[in-house]
Symmetry: C2
Subunit: 283 residues, 2 copies
């Protein structure tokens, strides 16, 4: 292949970093790919780094030494996260979502590729430095959210099942009390699905009292895994006795009035939790 010009190298560097998040890439890979000196490539990377920073799409971290290289850590700017969360809160507030019993239809939001990418970026950005090894979720609606997050963290998703399946092999089961219905339920995780001592991020779509997530935490103990964080798309406000602490939520379902067809959704605690200030929901 002929030697590439700077502008061409920069296209390739940019696409390569974005397609390989949280992956240490040795400079020699690019030196070979481009037939260029490492010094030129370092200059290219500085340009990419600067634009990534300006656009808030992430950082490039350079590690020196023989085992060194460059790692792309996807992030999201405060402005973009704000826009995304506000969009989601507004969409969740549509009265057409109201289902009998005060439930909300959310499958369209969880199915939307743009929303999912943004949700994934937000959670991945928030937990970027927690050395996550795996994202854990429970079927069914948590799965797209978990995968969107894991895609940016570049870690596997581990799916807890509601039934023991023959295609999962030997499973570990746990009984837990569903927080809202106070019913005893069971969850199953394949024995081989999670390595010992893994650092785990739990992602789910909805949290009321937190019974399901408490069940997932119990399951982590069975695998000697470490809980590094909890992210939920929607929490409900004012749940009497929350079973789970230290979670991050994007949206908060404050009030549902079936009779008047009113749904009140506010920002979750994503911005409160130390990283951002002064978010304006009325923007």
């Amino acid at each position: 292949m002929s030697k590439l010009r700077r502008s061409e190298r920069i296209v390739d560097l940019t696409q390569y970093f974005i397609s390989h998040p949280h992956t240490l890439i040795p400079l020699s890979l690019f030196a070979e790919r481009f037939q260029s000196a490492k010094s030129s490539i370092s200059e290219d990377i500085d340009i990419v780094q600067e634009m990534f920073k300006q656009r808030g799409i992430g950082e490039l971290i350079t590690l020196a030494g023989a085992a060194g290289g460059v790692k792309f850590i996807p992030k999201i700017s405060k402005e973009e996260a704000e826009d995304s969360i506000i969009t989601i809160c507004k969409e969740l507030s549509h009265k057409e979502r109201l289902l009998p019993g005060g439930y909300l239809y959310m499958s369209d939001i969880i199915g939307n590729p743009n929303r999912l990418r943004q949700i994934g970026r937000m959670f991945a950005s928030y937990f970027a430095h927690e050395a996550i090894d795996a994202v854990l979720t429970v079927e069914t609606k948590g799965i797209p959210l978990a995968h969107a997050t894991a895609n940016y963290l570049n870690v596997p998703v581990v799916i807890v099942r509601r039934d023991a399946k023959i295609t999962e092999g030997s499973v570990v089961s746990i009984n837990y009390l569903s927080g809202s219905s106070k019913r005893m339920q069971t969850m199953f995780l394949a024995r081989r699905a999670l390595k010992e001592n893994s650092n785990v991020l739990i992602i789910d779509d909805f949290m009321k009292v937190g019974g399901t997530i408490k069940g997932l935490i119990g399951l982590l103990k069975e695998f000697n895994a470490n809980l590094k964080g909890i992210g939920v798309l929607v929490e409900t406000d004012g749940a009497d006795e929350r079973l789970v602490e230290n979670y991050v939520s994007l949206a908060k379902l404050v009030h549902v009035n079936e009779k008047d067809e009113m749904v009140d959704v506010q920002l979750g605690n994503y911005f409160e939790r130390g990283k951002y200030n002064e978010v304006n929901l009325n923007k």
Copy 2:
């Protein structure tokens, strides 16, 4: 913001296209973003286009006129698809996957972010010009594959459930005969999940006789939707009476011998179906 240099514009163009696949982006968006003339931006885009082509990561299609713009269509090169499918076939052949009854444990492959990205790119590349409106799948293991594909096609995923859930609202159900077990089963899809006349791509993890996929096709009829394609990760070879035609598979499970712990996995029909030739599994 100050005016950007070409190399900086190229970083931003590249990341923007990759984050917005199958989306028509008016040149005026970039002109404003960069404070640059459209003619300069057109030259930038030519450079990006050329590298994308060289790396086989996709095409930029330019539509002229007032409603025009540029659209990034993700693709995958034959070499990269070949490498990915061979890797998957080899992984599927490990005897450690064998479960009682001749089933294969596949959750690790379906959970792996790199495999998923490549699987998504392969299906999205194959069906890039079918004007897909939605990807349909059935819980649980099809969901990650469907989302990986939909992410590159930039369309929503619609999940068919095995049980009717209160959080889905009004549902349409269909009874179908599971091809292998010959048992009658039922699937459910929320009435509001799929618009009339949608062009639908079905994605699933595993196809034996094709009973489940035939059920999904029946469900599409209830929604007056159009079947535009079927993609499966693994098909089994020699299923007596295949219920489904015109599917694309990445891998083919040819033979399982529980006694001798042998799993024989070959390439699926992805390369046969007109687009590629001379693929060497022994590479």
